[in-house]
Amino acid sequence: MAIALAVSPTRMELLKLKQRVGLAQKGHDLLKEKMDALVIEFFEVVRRIQEARMKAFDQLSVAHRALSMGFAVVGTLETKQASKETKRELQVEISTRHIMGIAVPAVEVGEVERNALVRGYGLHMTSSVLDEASREFERALKLLIELAELEASAFAIVRELEKTKRRVNALEYILIPRLREALKFIMMRLDEMERENFTRLKRIKAMMEKRE
């Protein structure tokens, strides 16, 4: 049972309350619509994440296998050395996009895959197995970056969804019932006052008739 607001039982107050209930109801409906839209958006993103995740993680395990080959053929130290020598200047463009007022990151990955000559490690100490491993990791990295974008948007949407849900519930289960309770209280009170008045008049009338 909602606790009634402390209100004075007057007609002015009644009118004001009615207005507030109307407003709260309208806000509630709007928020609910927003929530529905967010849920649809969210599930779309989640579906895409699952596809992207599977693809990226598969590619990553392929890359790891290729790297193990690199370790075996070229040697652990040489491979590590190559990973230090290689040009590590991959850049991604990140800006923000807005989905229904939520800022989500938008990532643009350029070409990640490079030519063996551009990579920058010495070719005479390494072998084509290492080139292979690098290529697989480059592919994996591209997929992983795309996945990171999707996951970040999912988290942003979910945070907003939680906030919206809280607001909807606060309106639906607390504010609106309280206002209605107060409304009911005022109406009852006004009716009661009217009845009191009515009997009072009756009684006065009876008294006046007796006196005559």
Partner: protein, 112 residues
């Protein structure tokens, strides 16, 4: 704006992703060291994407989760499986869905 990539993880993951062009890398040995390095990465204006293996993320536990929660919009943090393909049983995203929507939701692949 263009940003760079950072990797935190075991030797193999870091080596591989460094070969692929990730600019910043840290090989996890002790929690203190890794956390200090992560702090540096999170403060950096240059890093746009941070990749960390699930195993390391789990080992860091609460400290890491708090870092992720309090970070700015960037860097984007993605947890990845390591060489053994280790992924925790409790999927974080699924956990969040369960909490917000209040029901376990299975998403089927299209056509199945």
């Amino acid at each position: 704006m263009s940003y760079r990539i950072a990797v935190v993880g075991d030797q193999d993951t870091v080596t591989g992703l460094a070969l692929a062009g990730a600019t910043y890398a840290h090989i996890h040995t002790t929690n203190e060291e890794t956390l200090a390095k992560l702090n540096e990465f999170f403060d950096s204006e240059e890093i746009g994407v941070l990749l960390i293996t699930h195993r390391v993320a789990e080992e860091l536990g609460y400290d890491f989760r708090r870092m992720v929660r309090t970070k700015r919009l960037l860097p984007l943090v993605l947890r990845i499986p390591d060489k053994t393909g280790y992924v925790p049983k409790v999927d974080e995203l699924r956990e969040i869905i369960r909490r917000t929507v209040g029901a376990e939701i299975m998403i089927k692949k299209e056509g199945s």
